[in-house]
């Protein structure tokens, strides 16, 4: 700070000029943006139809992972809490839905609520712990939490249906793969709307404020404890719902599906997407959902470097390298890569000033 103090420009004392009016795109700019947005929307909606039938469920999975990334982003990006046990919320939601559908014979909608509820509960338990702990220690506790969920909770045969797993049939209206894909994409869209309103309203702002500095937040009358818990509740509900959707992709839930590897994948997806940025993290989730299949297929079907010469056992290495390069050159992940594009699409100028918050906001109470 010292140098900035010296370099400090004089304070503006003359009566402030009228703030420059907010940017409005020209009619042509407006048209262009709308056109592009429409095209994108059309493309997304076309995907389930375009991909070969055997890959439709991958598309669905991508939507679900996008939802999970949104959920994790609320902790990682907004509240600055690292959860390496997110597969626990996810799994609890999945089994919750399965149990509701199979054991309690509830309608699918009710099962979804059940999943949201169980997910929230699982998250609040962690949240209560988070209040006591320093971020780094908490991150490691979440790992342990995830293991307990997988090894203990998900192995209670009466709850999880034993070896064959807990059946989770799809709603009759969306029983085909393609229809179900649209359902999940729809849910993701709703979730993004919700997330947008969250960040644009007092709740989300309070959560982000206390991520940056709890004392300042408190001095502005924000109940730090309350809003931290709130963050966990929302994240848990989203993860739970995502779990329910996931459960009905293959229509059966088994414990083996929810391990530490999955939790790690979710964190990777969120960070690569760009923690704190809605559009970024969703793309991150989608990316990590399709990546394995994509690389396998690339390997099997095309002669494109680097997938031709190498054996399957090297594909993770290629992934890892890309990952590291992304982190080095685009710490803000996909969101940073697309910063200008995203701002243009959100009807602002194409060029945006670097925000002081910098890329990769949040995470373990990071300070810019």
């Amino acid at each position: 700070m010292a140098d900035t103090v010296l370099a400090d420009g004089a304070l503006e004392l003359e009566p402030a000029p009228e703030p420059d009016a907010p940017f409005r795109p020209t009619p042509r700019g407006m048209a262009a943006r709308i056109a592009v947005l429409a095209a994108l929307l059309a493309l997304i909606l076309a995907v389930p139809q375009l991909v070969p039938a055997v890959y439709v469920n991958i598309v669905t999975k991508a939507a679900v992972y996008g939802l999970v990334a949104l959920s994790l982003n609320i902790l990682l990006g907004y509240a600055g809490q690292v959860s390496l046990g997110h597969s626990a919320f996810f799994g609890v939601g999945a089994f919750g839905a399965g149990y509701a559908l199979t054991k309690m014979q509830l309608p699918w909608g009710a099962a979804l609520l059940m999943a949201a509820l169980t997910g929230a509960v699982a998250a609040v338990v962690l949240g209560a712990i988070a209040l006591r702990l320093r971020a780094v220690y908490f991150a490691l506790v979440t790992i342990s939490y995830g293991f307990v969920a997988q090894e203990t909770l998900f192995n209670i045969r009466s709850l999880t249906g034993g070896g064959a797993g807990q059946p989770a049939p799809r709603p009759s209206l969306f029983h085909t793969d393609v229809r179900y894909a649209y359902l999940c994409i729809g849910v993701l869209a709703v979730a993004m709307l919700f997330d947008w309103r969250l960040t644009a309203s007092r709740g989300g702002r309070a959560i982000q404020a206390l991520r940056d500095d709890e004392r300042v937040a408190a001095s502005w009358g924000i109940d730090v404890t309350g809003y931290k818990i709130l963050a966990f509740v929302i994240s848990g509900m989203m993860a739970g719902i995502a779990g329910a959707l996931f459960a009905s992709i293959e229509q059966v839930v088994t414990p083996a599906d929810f391990g530490f590897a999955l939790s790690l994948t979710f964190v990777l997806a969120t960070v690569v997407g760009g923690a704190g940025n809605r559009w970024g993290v969703v793309q991150g989730g989608v990316l990590f959902a399709v990546l394995p299949t994509l690389i396998d297929r690339a390997h099997a079907n095309f002669h494109i470097w680097p997938f031709t010469s190498i054996s399957i056992t090297l594909e993770p290495a290629v992934e890892a390298l890309l990952l590291i390069l992304t982190l080095i050159f685009f710490p803000g992940g996909i969101a940073q890569q697309q910063r200008n594009l995203l701002s243009w699409l959100s009807f602002k100028r194409f060029r945006q000033p670097e925000t002081g918050g910098g890329p990769a906001r949040g995470g373990m109470g990071a300070r810019p």
């Binding site: 103090v5 420009g9 304070l11 503006e12 003359e14 703030p19 982000q208 940056d212 004392r215 502005w220």
Partner: protein, 258 residues
């Protein structure tokens, strides 16, 4: 009845008696200055009053209500606003966003309504922004509304911080070294602005500041802390001629700060 009052506030950290039996009061529309050399316990006292530290003994009152057991955010709800020595702002937000968050406690719509984007919440959001712009205007910062916090010079940040606290519309405004990193003439202008605030917003102000002449020129009443204890108190003139204070500041033999 005083707006803010502290009785016999003491706190110790480990072996150090940071504050010992400090009495303090602020009345309506009063500007109170707190002077004292580094490590005198000024900021510690601020933290006790605003609720970040819990005093070992002594009570804090706002409008006669005992707030000693309340959390910082609860005290803020009651109209206590404060700034921090290291600028207290949300770094990842823009100036305007900061002032909008700062209005948290005065926001009507409930959190859920906000999440689902209820019309009421949308309407109020507009109000919040308008109000934020007003405050920025008042502080002469309106042109910065869209700029991110990071990158603004230190002095400006202190101004933005003050603006943010004003946006919480406090009854008492507690400023911790608001003039750090600003030149003398900005200092003067700032103090002038403080008086305007008092008049236009009808608030009381407490300020910790090293710049003795400015404090004496601005405050109606001044407390001087030294080694965690009250060294002196009184109106600026009394303090100016107080020998103990003079010694504390200028060393042996000094008889006046003037």
């Amino acid at each position: 009845m005083p707006v803010l009052e502290a009785l016999e506030v003491s706190i110790r950290f480990g072996g150090v008696q940071a504050l010992s039996a400090v009495d303090f009061r602020v009345d309506e529309l009063e500007i109170v200055g707190i002077l004292g050399p580094n490590g005198a316990g000024k900021t510690t006292f601020f933290n006790c009053v605003s609720g970040f530290y819990r005093p070992d003994t002594g009570r804090i009152f706002m409008h006669g209500q005992d707030v000693t057991d309340l959390r910082p955010d609860q005290r803020a709800q009651l109209g206590l606003g404060r700034t921090f020595q290291q600028v207290g702002l949300v770094r990842s937000f823009t100036v305007l966003e900061n002032l909008v968050v700062a209005q948290h406690k005065s926001t009507r719509y409930n959190v859920l309504a906000g999440m689902v984007g209820a019309p009421a919440s949308l309407r109020e959001e507009k109000v919040l922004r308008a109000r934020a712009m007003e405050v920025l205007d008042f502080m002469g910062l309106a042109h910065l509304h869209d700029s991110p916090i990071g990158g603004l010079p230190y002095g400006t940040l202190k101004m933005v911080e003050t603006a943010a606290v004003l946006a919480t519309n406090p009854e008492v405004l507690m400023l911790d070294e608001p003039l750090a990193g600003t030149g003398p003439e900005e200092g003067l202008a700032y103090c002038q602005r403080l008086k305007d605030m008092r008049r236009e917003l009808g608030i009381s102000i407490v300020m910790i500041e090293h710049h003795v002449p400015l404090v004496l020129g601005t405050a109606d009443y001044v407390y001087v802390l030294n080694f965690g204890a009250l060294l002196a108190q009184g109106d600026p003139d009394e303090i100016r001629d107080n020998e103990a204070v003079a010694e504390a500041y200028m060393g042996e033999g000094a008889t006046s700060l003037a």
